[in-house]
C-alpha cells in the first residue's frame, strides 16, 4: 500500500513540476524518464536475476521502430487521437517482449561472459536490420514519427514538451511500480535465489530456466516501453540512436546507481541526462575552436561515463544507492539501543570452522 501511495505522491509532484518547468527542462525530465523505464528493467535483470544484457539498446530500437511504424500507419489513416499513442506504445512493448523472450530462451543456458557476448552481438547486429530493410525502415536515415498534437486539456499554449514529459513520466512510474511489486514478490525472491546459487535454487524447487527467461521478458518489456517513449520524444527513429553505446550507457546507469536497486536506476538515469548537458555547457564556456568544441561535447561524456564505470566497479560496487544505504545504516547504528544488539550478532561464529578450513 505504501508503494502505491508513494507512486501517487510522485505522480502529483511530477505533474506539478512539468507545469512549472520550462520546455527544455521538461524535455530533459522526459528523457530521464524514458531512460528510467529501460534502466529499471535492466537493473532487475542484472542485479536481481544475475543476467547481464548488453542488448537492451537493441530491444529499445525494436520497440521504437514499432512505435514509429504504428504511429505512421495511424497517421496515414487519419486517426489522430491520443489513444493511438497508448496503442503504439503497447505494440512496441509487445514487440520488445517477444524479442526479449527469444534472446532470453537462448540466454537461459548461458553464463557470465557467454551471455554478455551473445547480447553484445545482438546490440551490434540489430541496428543493421534498419539498413537491410531499407524499403520499410529507410536505412541509416530512419523514420520520422507521426504524432498527434498535445491534448486540449493541457491548455492551448502548453508546449509539446510538457505533453512528452507527462507521457514519459507516466510510463516510467508504471514501470517502477510494477517492478517494485515484482522485486518484493515471490518471483523477486526466486530471481535472487537463482542469481546467488543456481543449484541451491533448483534443489529448492525453483524452475531456474523459467525464472531466467521470465526475468528477461519482463526486463525487455520495460526496455521496450522506454524505447517507444524515446521514439515519441525524438519524433524520429534511426539506427544511429540505438548503437552499442546506448546499451553501455544503460549499463553505466545501473552500475553507478547501484546494481539491483530501483532507486539506483533513478540516480543513473538522471546522470545519463545531466552529465552530457553539464559537459556541453562546460565546453561552451571555454572558448575553443569550433571543431574541438564539438569533438569535446560529443565525446567527453563518453569518457567520463567509462571512467565512472571502471572506478565504481572496482572501488564501490554497490554504487550510489549502496553508499546511501551504508550511510543510512551508519546513522541508525549510532542511535543507542540498536548498537548493543548489533554487537551481539556480530560475534565471530567463524571460529569453530577454522581448523576445518586449514585442513582442506
Amino acid at each position: 500500500m505504501r508503494r502505491y501511495a508513494g507512486a501517487l505522491v510522485a505522480a502529483v509532484a511530477l505533474l506539478a513540476a512539468t507545469a512549472v518547468l520550462d520546455p527544455f527542462r521538461d524535455y530533459q525530465l522526459a528523457t530521464a524518464a524514458a531512460y528510467l523505464s529501460a534502466t529499471a528493467g535492466l537493473t532487475v535483470l542484472t542485479g536481481l536475476s544475475g543476467q547481464l544484457s548488453l542488448g537492451h539498446g537493441a530491444l529499445m530500437a525494436i520497440a521504437a521502430y514499432t512505435v514509429a511504424l504504428t504511429q505512421n500507419a495511424f497517421g496515414a489513416h487519419g486517426v489522430g487521437t491520443q489513444w493511438t499513442l497508448l496503442a503504439s506504445l503497447a505494440a512496441g512493448t509487445a514487440a520488445a517482449s517477444v524479442a526479449g523472450a527469444v534472446v532470453g530462451v537462448a540466454a537461459a543456458r548461458l553464463r557470465g561472459p557467454y551471455l554478455a557476448g551473445l547480447t553484445l552481438v545482438v546490440a551490434v547486429a540489430v541496428p543493421s536490420v534498419g539498413t537491410l530493410a531499407g524499403g520499410l525502415l529507410h536505412g541509416d536515415q530512419g523514420l520520422s514519427v507521426y504524432l498527434p498534437p498535445a491534448p486540449g486539456w493541457l491548455g492551448a499554449d502548453a508546449p509539446y514538451e510538457r505533453w512528452q514529459a507527462i507521457v514519459a513520466l507516466a510510463a516510467a512510474l508504471l514501470v517502477m511500480l510494477l517492478l517494485g511489486n515484482l522485486a518484493a514478490s515471490g518471483f523477486g525472491r526466486s530471481m535472487r535465489a537463482v542469481r546467488d546459487d543456481e543449484v541451491a535454487a533448483a534443489l529448492a524447487g525453483i524452475p531456474v530456466a523459467r525464472v531466467r527467461v521470465l526475468a528477461f521478458v519482463v526486463s525487455a518489456a520495460c526496455a521496450g516501453l522506454g524505447g517507444g517513449v524515446f521514439a515519441i520524444l525524438a519524433q524520429s527513429v534511426s539506427p544511429g540512436a540505438f548503437s552499442l553505446t546506448l546499451s553501455l550507457n544503460l549499463l553505466l546507469a545501473i552500475v553507478v546507481g547501484g546494481l539491483g536497486s530501483l532507486a539506483g536506476a533513478v540516480w543513473g538515469s538522471l546522470l545519463l541526462v545531466l552529465l552530457p548537458w553539464l559537459t556541453d555547457s562546460l565546453a561552451r564556456t571555454v572558448s575553443l575552436p569550433p571543431g574541438a568544441a564539438t569533438r569535446l561535447a560529443g565525446n567527453l561524456p563518453l569518457a567520463v561515463f567509462g571512467l565512472l564505470l571502471v572506478i565504481v566497479m572496482s572501488a564501490a560496487p554497490g554504487g550510489v544507492q549502496g553508499l546511501l544505504n551504508r550511510a543510512g545504516r551508519w546513522v541508525r547504528g549510532r542511535r543507542p539501543g540498536r548498537h548493543a544488539r548489533r554487537v551481539e550478532t556480530s560475534t565471530p561464529d567463524a571460529e569453530p570452522d577454522a581448523p576445518l578450513a586449514s585442513r582442506t
Binding site: A106, L110, L244, G298, N299
Partner: protein, 292 residues
Amino acid sequence: MDRFLFLTVDGLSRGAVYAAFALALVLIWRGTRIVNFAQGVLAVATAYLAYSVAGATGSYWAGFAAALAAGLVLGALVERLVMRRVAQAPPLNAVIVALGLVLLAQGVLGMLYGTQYLPFPAPFSRTAMTVAGVPLLSRYDLFVFGTVLLLMVGLALLFTRTATGLRMRAAAFAPDVSRLLGVSVGRTLTLGWALAALVGALAGMLVIPTGLGLHPTAMDLVFVSAFTAAVVGGLDSPAGAVVGGLAVGLVLSYVGGYLGSASTPLAVLALLVVVLLARPTGLFSGTGARRV
C-alpha cells in the same frame, strides 16, 4: 565459380585475422577466466597511434612497430591498473569494467581524433593477382597470411619451448601450486595480458585497412566475429580459436558476398546462437564439469 574461389580466399584472409584476434581472447581467458571485452577498442587505440606515427614519420612500418609496442604497454597497464582489482570479484564485475574501458577509450579517441573515418591505407596492393585467369590473391592477402602464420608459430614456440611459456601455462593451470614453486603468478598474468594486447594490436593493424577506415568503433564487428570464433573453438583452445576464426571468416565472406555486406552482423548473430545452442562448450574444448 570464380566468385566462389575469390570469396573463399577473401574469407580465409579475413578468417586469419579473426583467428589471431580470437587467439588473444583465448590467451586471456585461459589465464584469468576473463573475456576481455575491451580488446577491440585497445586495438583501435594502437591503430590510432600508428596513424599518428605514420603521419609524422611518413613510414608505414614505423607506425606498425609503434602499434605493436603500444599494444604491449597498454595490455600490461590494463592488467596492472584495472583488471587486477576485479580479479577476485564475481565474473560480472570484470566484464563491466572491461566495458567501462570501451566507453572510456572511445570517448578519449573521439576527443583526440574526432569521429569521422580516417583513411588507413594498406602497405601492399589489395587488388587480386590473377592466377590461371582467375583473380585470386592480393599481395595484401599474402602479407596477412604470412604475418598470422608467423605469429602462430611464434606463440606455439613460446608456450611449448621456453621457460617463460611453461611458467605462463603453469600459472594459468594451477596458480597456487605455481606460486609455491616460485612462479611469480602476478607477473606472468601481466605478461599474458601484454602479449594478448600485442596480438590484438597486430590483428587490428591487419584488419582496419580492409574496412571503411579508422574510427573509434572500427573493431566492434571484428570483436564480435572473433568472439564468435573463440566460442566456436571453445574459448579454451588455441587450436580451436584458429579453426573457429577461419570458419567464421569463410561464413562471413560467403554471406557478405552473396547477400550483401549489410547482412554480415546478422550472420554473426545467427552463427553464435546456433553454436551456443548446439554446443555451448565449443567444438574443441575438453569436457569440463561446472563447479557447483
